[in-house]
Each structure stands twice: as C-alpha cells, then as structure tokens.
Symmetry: C2
Subunit: 145 residues, 2 copies
C-alpha cells in the first residue's frame, strides 16, 4: 500500500520540470541532482514520462528533456498512472476484474470510499500548482517541520 519508487521519482521530476521557464530544458544529470533521484533509476522514469507524452527528449549540444504537456492540466494521479498504470487500492477495485464477493462483501464499499478519498486529495492540485508552491517554499528561509 505504498507508492512505488518509480512513481515517487516521476512526481518529483514532473514538479521540477514545471518549475523551469516555458520551453526550459534540463539534462538527465542535472535533473538527477535537482530531484535527488539516482541517475540509473531516473533514466527508466524519464522513458515512462516520454512514453506518456509528458516529456520530450531533445538531442544535441543544447539537448535534454523538456515538458511537452501543460502542467496546469495534470495532477499527481496522472503522473502515477503514467508510470505504474491504473491505481487500485485493492485488487477488487481493478478495472475489468470481477470480484465474486462484491455483492455481499462490506469491505468492498470501504475500499472504494478510501480510494475515492485518496484520489480526491491527489487530484486536488495540478503539477503546476505544486511547482509554484515548491519554488515559493524554497525561497523562504528554512524552518524545522
């Protein structure tokens, strides 16, 4: 019941992309340093983000990765799903799965409500919002939390 490392790293990377100026590009190495994600792992995460159409890779001397989607239009949920596929808090909530016990299992209702509550929070801010908040937080003097 824990986010995969790949999805967490993808969220961090997408928030960092969204802090760059429009059309801003960053190298794999610089992104790894900025996000604290190991370079080898980041390569796989970037592949998934490229496949999802969230990021493009540019070659050449000025090459690197840049955002190819409007970060005001996607949330953490979109990023998680781009990397890990559809979110299902329990196997019985997976789309296409038919649970024989659904008709009478009272826990099914609880799993459904818990997933909805979680997704509602994860959708509550866009990646652009989170990037703006992160940039604002970094600009403040550090405080213990």
């Amino acid at each position: 019941m824990q986010l995969t490392r790949a999805a967490d790293y993808a969220v961090r990377a997408m928030i960092h992309f969204a802090t760059l100026p429009p059309g801003g590009r960053i190298t794999h190495k610089a992104l790894a340093e900025a996000t604290g994600v190991p370079q080898s792992f980041l390569a796989k995460v970037l592949q998934a983000l490229v496949r999802a159409g969230f990021v493009v890779s540019r070659r050449g001397l000025e090459g690197g990765f840049e955002l190819s989607i409007d970060s005001t239009r996607i949330s953490i949920v979109d990023v998680i799903q781009a990397v890990d596929g559809p979110i299902a808090l329990n196997l019985c909530l997976m789309s296409g799965k038919t649970c024989n016990e659904r008709a009478w299992c009272a826990a099914h209702t609880v799993w459904t409500r818990a997933q909805q509550a979680m997704l509602s929070e994860l959708c509550s801010a866009s990646i652009a919002d989170l990037a703006a908040q992160t940039a604002s937080n970094k600009a403040q003097p550090a405080t213990a939390q």
Copy 2:
C-alpha cells in the same frame, strides 16, 4: 500503491471471525473455504493475526481458530497494520524517516492529506460493523452490482 494480498486476506478472515457467535471457532480449512483464501497463504495470515493478539489457536478435536479481541474495537487499519506494519502511502511519510526535502516539497503535503483521507475511511467502520453488514448482505437476494 496496492494493498498486499496478505493484508486483504487478513481483513477477509477477521470479518469472517466476527460473523461467528461469541467464542465461535473455525478450522483452518473451513476458514479458507469461507473466505476464498488459499489454505497455504491463509496459514501465514493466521500466524500474523495470532502474533497480533487478534486470534487464538485451540488444539484438539474441537480445535480451530477463534477471535481473541473485541471486533467492535478494531478497524481495517488495525488488521492491515498487524500484517504489513505501519501504513505509509509514500516513503517520506514513514515514521522515523527524515526526508531532506520535506521543508520545501509541496508534494509532501499532498501525500499527507491523501493518506489521512484514506485512513479516515478505512477507520470509519469496525470489523464488527463490517461483519454485520456482510451477514446482512448475504441474507439479501443477490443483485447484480
């Protein structure tokens, strides 16, 4: 970000225990049949429930497993934690872990709120409530859902 099979099976087993009359006992085999959990996997789940003090094992001809906790006092969250340990939706929410980015990472706040929302729903009903609801649902004519 999905519940482990062990935790799901433990919740099913605990709900079934709570449908039994007070002091009611059930064999490993009968519990496997009632919950649809493979017997070999159920053995590990029952060990975890015994270790947590939720269930006791009785030997002898009339032996089997029985509830040893008041099912009105525990929720799905307690059962998950008995099997899988503390719930943390992301690594940065694990107790004792210090995330260097917490002071400025805007996603941290979202993970926290999403976890709280999910836990709130998972705590909203006791295992006894779910057992009563399940028994009531089973007593109704089956309907497509």
